[in-house]
Amino acid sequence: MKRYAKYIRPYLYAFILGPIMMLTEVAGEVLLPSFMADIINVGAANHDVGYIVQRGLVMIVTAFIMMAGGVLGAWFSAKAALSFGADLRRDVFEKVQTFSFANIDKFSTGSLVTRLTNDITQVQNVLMMALRMLLRAPGMLVGAVIMAFVMNRSLAAIFLVVMPILALTIGMIIKTAFPRFTLMQVKLDALNTNIQEVLTNVRVIKSFVREDYQKEKFAEANKDLKESGLRAFKVVIFQMPVMMVFMNLTTLLVVWFGGNQILDGSMQVGNLTAFTTYVVQVLMSLMMLAMVLLSSSRAIASLRRINEVLDTQVDLTDEGARYAQAPVKRGRIEFKDVSFRYYKNSEEKVLEDINLTIEPGQVVGIIGSTGCGKTTLVSMIPRLYDVDEGEVLVDGINVKDYSLKHLREGVGMVLQKNVLFSGTILENLQWGDENASEEEILQVARDAQADVFVKNLAEGYETELGQGGVNVSGGQKQRLCIARALLKKPKILILDDSTSAVDTATESRIREAFSGSLKETTKLIIAQRITSVMEADQIVVLDEGRIVGLGRHEELMEACSAYREIYDSQMKEEVLA
């Protein structure tokens, strides 16, 4: 509970005023029947028209005050709940910004998005409802009971008997309904997954002629959902007659005992009228409480999912950095006995005993089959993941001792699964350096061989890219991503399979540009194509997390069988041809 205090404190007045305004409404609601009783007991009994008019006007004014209370209450509770939600959403978003890559991998993108959108909305809605109902329902309950006691103590005692029994019954109903609704939600999720799957797989289904099979599967899931839904709703429906029985029974008891009191003259008839109203109010407020409780179940589930994000331990920070002020100056990289596994308790190591030294300005090629750890290896340099054993040094300083900002500013990385964002090409390039001059931007675009095709677009650098850069081809997208990284002017540049869709001629021009304007920069190139790395100063051959070959092309052709095998698989036919 304590963690939410900071979302409440700035809006404390709204959190307090909202329910209080609602109480105004409640106060009016319990007072009105007693004014009504006055009209009957005093006005009508004494034939006092003046009194009746006076009381009547008081009632009307009360009703308007109630309206003002209700309207203000709605304002404050909207303000409180939505501000709470907005602040919470901001914190979740900011938390996600601090996530390490490992954290991001743990949550899927989709689930993070849902938590930031739907789950927060869910919490906001229930909170708003709670703020309106929270004091209202109990307030009405207490108010009506007090008024009843003031009017007629012995008659009001009926409430004391009925209320606990009813509360108990409602409690039992909710307790039964809760798990049934949870189960229904599970079935609903299952059905939705089924639909989603069928929609994405439509070609597979059609090509294997499995429509009937899918129909059967769906019908089954559908029936399942219906039945669990019925089981849940039946309980809720049962609540209604229970309430009605209690309400009517109480009314009958009140009229019976009250009637007898009127007959023996110990009670006035107007009070009986007021009493019947109180019966309805008391029972209604109990019912409202039950409603709030039932619908809060969803919000609690949402809140739990949100807290999962907030509670995530960010396993990679720069808090202990010893050289927080130091920037990356030269770009010398050293791996010392580095080992890494993705899950702390998994047997298999992704990287094992990596030792590697890369001098500033060198070009290093990294090659090996899928899943052999190439991406993981380079991810250690900008500290996207932390090593389990050993250390990675940049310019002789352990990467953990840099501030993340300085380290990542010094290391430009073009990810394998790269993304462009909505906005113009120019805006996307400016991710590398917001204050870059036009000249600088054109220069990196030329280096990445992107300048020509961008200029050929109707709107040039002002061309709008759709989300994920859908309106440029794969090879063009990769070149833009490279240009974006170049603009950072990094000391170390990492290309993770980022020219796979670029043709070899263009690729070699990019490499040429590297050796020109990026001479000083250390360059690491991961590639599938052996031609992409053949000319590197050093080639690292990885296999199942170990370095099995290290050296120049000719050396490896001599000494490394794995390298030769890759070479053969790509080049043999060509030589033959």
């Binding site: 009504m36 009703a63 996600v96 590398g432």
Partner: protein, 630 residues
């Protein structure tokens, strides 16, 4: 952040607001049996109210799903009437009781007698209401189940074109948001409308019967309340739209940023992201507060106006008691009626939103149901048993839209057992050819025959059973690995499944998984690598005995070394089958019997690998890396 940047930010993501929508929709619990109250629940959330195009038709069609339960519905109807009448009667009975207490000659025996009658009336009402809800929930859930099934079955019949032109999220929301809204309406609204109408009419009659003057006072209040409701509703709608737009913008921003989170980190863009988010987040909040405020005051405004009406009748009724001898019992029941009278009117006006969104939802569902299905097989359609796999395309011309031709005069043949490869850039029409052979799309001109029979004359299920496809998108189904492979042929034995996995070189990695072939695939196979999923897809095709095999970028995510390892298996897989291969990586297609180089929908070069290299044409350029393949 300066104004220009804010504006751009909003503009950038606003476009997506339509698609982003708001899944989740109306809540499940607490539907039926909610408090009668004065409808002071939270402001209606969910979709903006879209008016149905043709409400009458939608209602009629919706009710056709209830036909099967006509008997039950009649019973429900009777229950509603009985329940409403008994509740009206129950409250009216207070009048003689109270009058009996205030007039001379009242005694406990008379009181007891009246109370017993009242209890009986109450009992009838409660039973009737319970039965009505209990039956209605079964009826409505049944109807929803039927609609859902029918919608799903319809989807199975729709052509691939439908899926290519509609986005999945949109179709998905028919099942979730739209059907939820319809379900809500069937659950509550229908019954509520009937009972509200009876209530209003009944109360009105009883009010008239009790006192004409007071009735006039009450009725005069009604237009005033309508006015107020209209005023609030108008503003609420306006701010609601602003809220939805801002919500869409923020959701679009969140989705894109979180999807690109790793890039954000690599570029140290966290601070900018926070700043932009902050702006959009609080922009949404400001709009939301207004929207929710106006949504939230409908209840208090209407409720308290009815309190005003209650106060007025109390005052005037009191005066009438003094001046005209109106009875106290009459006054008591009348003030209760004056509240009851406005309640159903309020409820009806609030139900309008539910009804509109339900009908609009129903229309969207029906729209899918009315889509044209795949053209049915002709009467003379035949089944090829056995199919040898001799594929011939003759002057095939095709375009997805009539105004844009994708394939022009394509002619080619593949003899049984031959391997034909297609290369060319994206958009050249490679995948389109495979879409035509299994009739995902029908050609515009020319002909495609298999074993000499035009594919339009082959039964569609038979045609597709004879063609196994391995697609570039490696989607899998929730279930075990074994089930996923068996999808290729449902009656395949376990041995055949393993055999197929071996052929696709998948057996090796499957065995290393903790549960082997019984490993559950969840979330579209997120626990497998892209390459592994492709191998499973190949195994799935291998288990089917189809004589024609289509491989569309089937090994694009498998690295060259692994690809070389599985080459042997692939060769065996293709050996007895006619195979059409599309590959980005040219090394994959070298050993094809014929390679077709496609450009702009035309075959510009054809021949085997060596012939094409010797031609020194486009293929040669591609192969030697002089040209980029996109």
């Amino acid at each position: 952040m300066d104004e220009a940047r804010k504006e751009r930010l909003v503009k950038k993501y606003a476009r997506k607001s339509d698609a982003a929508g708001m899944p989740g929709g109306p809540g499940g619990p607490g539907g039926p049996g909610g408090p009668g109250g004065k409808g002071k629940g939270p402001g209606r959330r969910g979709m903006p109210v879209k008016k149905p195009q043709n409400a009458k038709a939608a209602v009629g069609r919706l009710f056709s799903y209830l036909n099967a339960d006509m008997g039950k519905l009649v019973f429900v109807f009777i229950c509603v009437i009985a329940g409403t009448i008994s509740s009206l009667a129950g409250s009216y009975m207070l009048r003689p009781i109270i009058n009996g207490l205030t007039q001379e000659g009242g005694n406990a025996r008379k009181l007891l007698y009246s109370l017993l009658v009242m209890a009986a009336v109450y009992a009838v009402g409660i039973i009737a209401q319970y039965l009505q809800q209990r039956i209605m929930i079964v009826v409505s859930q049944g109807a929803i189940e039927r609609i859902r099934n029918e919608l799903f079955e319809k989807l199975q019949k729709l052509p691939v074109r439908f899926y290519d032109t509609n986005n999945n999220g949109d179709i998905m929301s028919r099942f979730t948001n739209d059907l939820d809204a319809v379900g809500d309406m069937l659950n509550n609204t229908v019954v509520q409308i009937i009972s509200s109408v009876i209530n209003v009419v009944g109360t009105f009659c009883l009010m008239l019967y009790t006192n004409v003057w007071l009735t006039i006072v009450t009725v005069v209040m009604v237009p005033l309340m309508m006015r107020a409701a209209g005023f609030v509703a108008m503003r609420s709608r306006k701010y609601y739209q602003a809220q939805q737009a801002a919500l869409g913008t923020l959701n679009g921003y969140i989705e894109e940023t979180v999807t690109g989170q790793k890039v954000v980190k690599v570029f140290c863009h966290e601070e900018t992201a926070k700043e932009e988010f902050e702006y959009l987040n609080y922009d949404l909040r400001d709009k939301q507060i207004f929207a929710q405020f106006f949504g939230g005051i409908m209840g208090p405004v209407m409720g308290n106006l009815s309190q005003v009406s209650y106060s007025l009748t109390a005052m005037i009724g009191g005066i009438l008691c003094v001046l005209r001898g109106f009875d106290i019992g009459g006054l008591t029941v009348f003030v209760n009626y004056s509240r009851q009278f406005s309640r159903p009117i309020n409820e009806l006006s609030m139900q309008m939103n539910t009804i509109f969104s339900a009908l609009a939802g129903a229309e969207r569902v029906f729209k899918i149901m009315d889509e044209a299905p795949e053209t049915p097989d002709g009467e003379n359609a035949v089944a090829l048993t056995p199919c040898k796999g001799h594929v011939v395309l003759k002057d095939v011309t095709f375009g997805y839209n009539p105004d844009k031709t994708i394939l022009k005069n394509i002619s080619l043949y593949a003899k049984p057992g031959q391997k034909i490869a297609f290369v060319g850039s994206t958009g050249a029409g490679k995948t389109t050819i495979t879409n035509l052979i299994n009739r995902f799309y029908d050609i515009d001109a020319g002909s495609i025959t298999i074993d000499g029979v035009d594919i339009k004359d082959i039964r569609r299920d038979n045609l597709r059973q004879n063609i196994a496809m391995v697609l570039q998108d490696t989607h899998l189904f929730t279930g075990t690995i074994r089930e996923n492979i068996r999808y290729g042929r449902l009656d395949a034995t376990d041995e055949e499944v393993v055999e197929a996995a071996k052929l696709a070189s998948a057996d090796h990695f499957i065995k290393r998984l903790e549960h082997g072939y019984d490993t559950m695939i969840e979330g579209d196979g997120a626990n497998l690598s892209q390459g592994q999923r492709q191998l499973l897809n190949i195994a799935r095709a291998a288990v089917s005995k189809a004589p024609i095999l289509i491989l569309d970028e089937a090994t694009s995510s498998v690295d060259t070394r692994t690809e070389r390892h599985i080459e042997h298996g692939m060769d065996r897989l293709m050996a007895q089958r006619t195979t059409l291969v599309i590959a980005h990586r040219l090394s994959t297609v070298r050993n094809a019997n014929a390679i077709m180089v496609l450009e702009n929908g035309e075959i510009i070069e054809r021949g085997d690998h060596h012939e094409l290299l010797a031609m020194k044409g486009r293929y040669y350029e591609l192969y030697t890396g002089k040209k980029e393949l996109d």
